[in-house]
Symmetry: C2
Subunit: 338 residues, 2 copies
């Protein structure tokens, strides 16, 4: 039995129970203040005898996606998909080859796209979505993401979710939390793979919502079609508004990595009781990408973590996760232990 | 043991198990095609060996609220609340006493409000909500609804949920379905009491969403404040769009009572496998209110069920629930069995 447990432990990382020991739910995290904060938060909110107990139905944790749960370099995965689709559409629309930002998109130059403005990225994404029935859009995304690779890391994009964050998701869920993605990216895009990659179902994905239109197809069957507008983005101005709309409850824990997550962390932290606000800092040039510009890291259009955000985090007791120091491994395909 | 089971049955309705019998999960329903259809649908979608099995994570049922789950006469409960609040606000704003629709709202004339246009009702509701922090709005709703009575039925409004529909909600949930409210009414209003009245938590309420604004209160704490606009209503044009936004999955079952539910029922029915679409027809002048105007019932501004909707239901195999014939009792405060 003991030998069997050892064998299980060897094959499955350190999650197998050996006689008398409590399993480490976060084996990809180095011991330190961040790991300790996560464990303490979950213990406090799930201890029925403690002052910070949260009833299971109220346990909500929200996670930004790009740069928090998975890689966002050289450019957002959603933009890479959209560019690939624009490339396909350009076969029948030669004018696209001339006009920016479509010319760069068609060329598949992700590094260049990673330096584009939000408005330009939005144009690429909308061009790719407009007029598609939702079901067809999801099928296209699923087909593309099944084989698409990150051109710098040369790995399948779905393998580039951060192992430490997947452990956090699983740990929270094992303790009765509902885990939500709250992304500035496209809700329908993320919903396509969120269950497979993160264990998060479509109804727990909050994102920028493309307007849809209810109509009928040629056979008279009802169909929802994507519109050329992100009207919901204007009102959906920030993440708290989206959280309010879709969830209607204030999360106790929120995770992000950029200035776009500031309001969400403020909102989650402002409630009573035990609260957890964490930001991922990309300071690991060796295993992932280093960018900020906080702490002198390279500037970035994508996932901008400013010095101001860093200072606010320190002032308000938000935890800043150092990928370099806090993560024993970044990706699941790395060996589990050093 | 047998005597004990009988005693339990007598005290708890017919849900207690007697030796060898299967409990009736819908005791407030008369035997007939509608009750049979509900039972058959749930059996088909939950039978792992059957062709119409739906994995639990995909089991979604959506319910309109007003006129489907609870009373909507003489006027929508939300409007009655808003009118009560406008009445309170009018103390400090005498001009409201002169202008319609506020004059009628302040007078508390629900019968007159029940004949108003949608635009007039919207004005009353927005006047009541504007500028309130969401938490304060919910507290006001909770306070009001704890004591407010329907002026015609002279019962607490929260007691006027339909017992047969509450049994349907419980039965669906007991069989792994997630039950959602999808209402043309206000999402924040309904969220205040949906768990208490229907067992439906805030994150499972889809409704017309008042725009909210993220800001800071006087002490610098983050706060969401209600705006004087239903911007989300325009894009949220119909119920399928709202379902897509909040749930991201097509329901297998949908329940409504008026023309506003048509698209939702079409959308739910258009999927493959076992599907259930049901409309509640208010044909019971004795125990509730009779209105249509389908089948020669009195015309109604509120919860309009046209002859056209009835004909579409018959043509498409949607079930029309006759309150008069299908419901053994309408409200929980009536005796359980005739």
């Amino acid at each position: 039995m003991f030998a069997c447990a050892l064998a299980l432990a060897a094959s499955a990382g350190s999650l197998a129970l050996a006689a008398g020991q409590v399993a480490d739910p976060l084996p990809s995290w180095n011991e330190g203040p961040r790991k300790a904060a996560i464990l303490a938060f979950v213990r406090a909110t799930t201890d029925p005898a403690g002052p910070d107990f949260v009833p299971p139905s109220d346990r909500i944790a929200t996670f930004d996606q790009d740069g928090t749960l998975w890689v966002e370099k050289p450019v957002y995965t959603e933009v890479a998909f959209a560019a690939s689709r624009v490339h396909d559409l350009a076969g029948g629309n030669p004018g696209l080859h001339v006009e920016e930002p479509f010319r760069t998109a068609i060329a598949g130059d992700e590094a260049a796209m990673g330096r584009m403005s939000y408005e330009q990225l939005k144009q690429i994404v909308l061009m790719a979505m407009t007029g598609l029935p939702v079901d067809q859009f999801r099928a296209e995304v699923a087909r593309w993401i099944a084989t698409s690779k990150n051109p710098v890391l040369n790995r399948p994009r779905t393998a580039l979710a951060y192992a430490p964050m997947k452990e956090v998701l699983a740990y929270f869920r094992a303790n009765g939390f509902r885990t939500y993605i709250v992304t500035g990216g496209g809700q329908d895009f993320v919903r396509t793979y969120s269950e497979q990659v993160y264990g998060i179902p479509p109804e727990q994905v909050v994102g920028t919502a493309d307007a849809v239109n209810f109509g009928y197809d040629a056979s008279g069957s009802p169909v929802l079609t994507l519109e050329p507008s992100l009207l919901l983005e204007d009102i959906f101005g920030g993440k708290p508004e989206g959280i309010h709309l879709v969830i209607g409850k204030r999360p106790q824990a929120a995770f992000g990595n950029s200035t776009g997550d500031r309001q969400m962390l403020e909102y989650a932290r402002a409630g009573t009781g035990a609260r957890l606000a964490m930001l991922v800092l990309h300071d690991d040039a060796v295993r992932e990408f280093a960018y900020g510009p906080a702490l002198g890291l390279p500037a970035s259009e994508v996932g901008t973590f400013t010095q101001g955000l860093y200072d606010e985090a320190k002032a308000k007791g938000w935890h800043v996760i150092s990928m370099k120091d806090d993560w024993r491994r970044v990706f699941a395909f790395e060996p589990p232990a050093r």
